[in-house]
């Protein structure tokens, strides 16, 4: 079988990007984002992208770089704060944003990958999110119909992979990555380390290799922290949120 492993992100994106395409990008805030693929996407200079993801980076970081490079036409996201360029362009009507409740966005992506064209959810009923959408009662409760989402290209970040493309994520860096991996016509994954086939416990694989077409090992992860919050070493239990 042709190897799924590519030498770097640019090589792995070769032939996969085109103007006007839809790209899904994993991550929540800057946690669990595919840093190297984002840089390669920026360098690809692909234009008029529709980007689907929970956020669009934040000032200076993550998908903000692709945004700042004028490559994005439309965004589907749940939260886009801390992003001045996006704010300005949205206010000026230069970029389109479709706000999705976070759980609806996550479920729409899962549905897209699972061959489900639409589903109903209580979320957003009676709000602006339901405008223009079908609403319907089940068992006396009102629900909104939401559609599945798919992408031309899905870009995810995992912790470990084997050469089959089996992926394991780490802590809350998992977030949107597993669903996004299932919803791309093509899915590329960057990881912190490759392990030999057979080293990952088969009961413990988060994304089976069938979903992953190309893999890159990323070097020198930045992992920028948006809101560093700590407590002093001598403190007693200092708050859980």
């Amino acid at each position: 079988m042709k190897s799924k492993i590519y030498p770097d992100a640019a090589a792995a994106l070769a032939g996969l990007t085109f103007d006007g395409m839809t790209v899904m990008v994993g991550g929540f805030g800057l946690c669990g984002i595919p840093e190297h693929f984002i840089a390669a996407l920026r360098d690809s200079a692909t234009k008029n992208l529709t980007v689907i993801g929970n956020n669009v980076g934040c000032d200076g970081h993550g998908m903000w770089q692709v945004l700042a490079n004028n490559q994005i036409r439309k965004v589907l996201a749940s939260y886009v704060g801390e992003n001045k360029i996006l704010e300005t362009r949205y206010m000026n009507g230069e970029i389109e944003i479709e706000f999705n409740p976070q759980g609806t966005l996550a479920e729409r992506i899962r549905a897209g990958g699972a061959g489900i064209p639409a589903f109903y959810t209580r979320t957003g009923y009676g709000t602006a999110v339901a405008e223009g959408k079908e609403t319907r009662q089940f068992n006396g409760e009102w629900y909104v119909m939401e559609t599945g989402l798919v992408a031309d290209l899905s870009i995810v970040k995992a912790w470990k992979a084997d050469s089959e493309g089996n992926l394991v994520y780490r802590k809350t860096a998992r977030n949107f990555n597993p669903m996004i991996a299932t919803a791309g016509k093509v899915t590329v994954a960057e990881v912190e380390m490759m392990v030999p086939v057979g080293e990952l416990d088969p009961d413990q694989i988060h994304t089976p290799g069938i979903f992953v077409d190309r893999i890159v090992v990323g070097q020198n992860y930045t992992k920028h922290i948006e809101r560093l919050t700590t407590r002093p070493k001598q403190a007693t239990f200092g708050g859980a949120n």
Binding site: Y79, Q102, R231
Partner: protein, 215 residues
């Protein structure tokens, strides 16, 4: 006189019960994490994909792969589990979280909540707020009773775009506590904040409410 932010959080903490799974919003609700009564076991969910949130990390020990829904670095506990955001919101939407404590911009007497956008200002997005109010079994909103300009934030109808319609069960403000019947039964004042009179709260509230003060 009225309740401070800490007092409001303390009042919200009274809504916790042993064994509860709870999601806390940002702002005042975050303070509730430090007010869990001794001996009570409460598990905190973070909607990005974690059950069993621990405290902030010690200085120098923050892990970029471990953040809460407010994007703050946190820690895990022995019982922690991680899952995808789809699984996390399946948990929320499916009614498995017992209690959510959230901030608000406006609440209506029908239990409508507005807390995600102000027309004319930059819209940042609703994040997980709409999912939480639609899915969590019991929703408690903690907010100031009035705008800085003095207008009541507890209203007959929300003037701001809604986060959810008929979703609030309890409203805690700096002036008092209101029980709200999501199913159209209206609002009831059940507690006054320390030093607040019934007259004061009546004057400062646009919403209509019944009164059932036990104390």
């Amino acid at each position: 006189m009225a309740w401070t932010r800490e007092q409001m959080a303390l009042r919200a903490a009274q809504e916790l019960q042993d064994g509860f799974y709870v999601n806390l919003g940002i702002g005042i609700p975050t303070l509730v994490a430090n007010m869990i009564p001794q001996g009570m076991s409460v598990t905190l969910q973070s909607e990005n994909g974690m059950l069993g949130m621990g405290p902030f990390p010690f200085e120098g020990e923050a892990d970029a792969d471990l953040i809460n829904a407010g994007k703050q670095t946190i820690t895990e506990l022995p019982q922690t589990s991680y899952f995808s955001s789809a699984d996390s919101f399946a948990m929320i939407r499916g009614g498995h979280i017992d209690l959510s404590i959230l901030g608000g911009m406006q609440v209506s007497e029908q239990g409508d909540l507005a807390n995600w956008m102000v027309p004319g200002k930059m819209v940042k997005g609703m994040g997980g707020a709409m999912d939480l109010v639609a899915g969590v079994r019991r929703v408690v909103v903690v907010m100031d009773h009035c705008e800085k300009a003095g207008d009541s934030k507890f209203k007959r109808q929300c003037s701001l775009p809604l986060t959810g319609k008929g979703v609030v069960d309890l409203l805690i403000t700096d002036l008092g506590v209101f029980r709200i019947d999501r199913k159209g039964g209206g609002a009831t004042l059940i507690e006054l904040a320390s030093g607040v009179t019934l007259d004061e709260i009546k004057t400062k509230t646009e919403a209509r409410f019944g009164i059932s003060l036990s104390g």
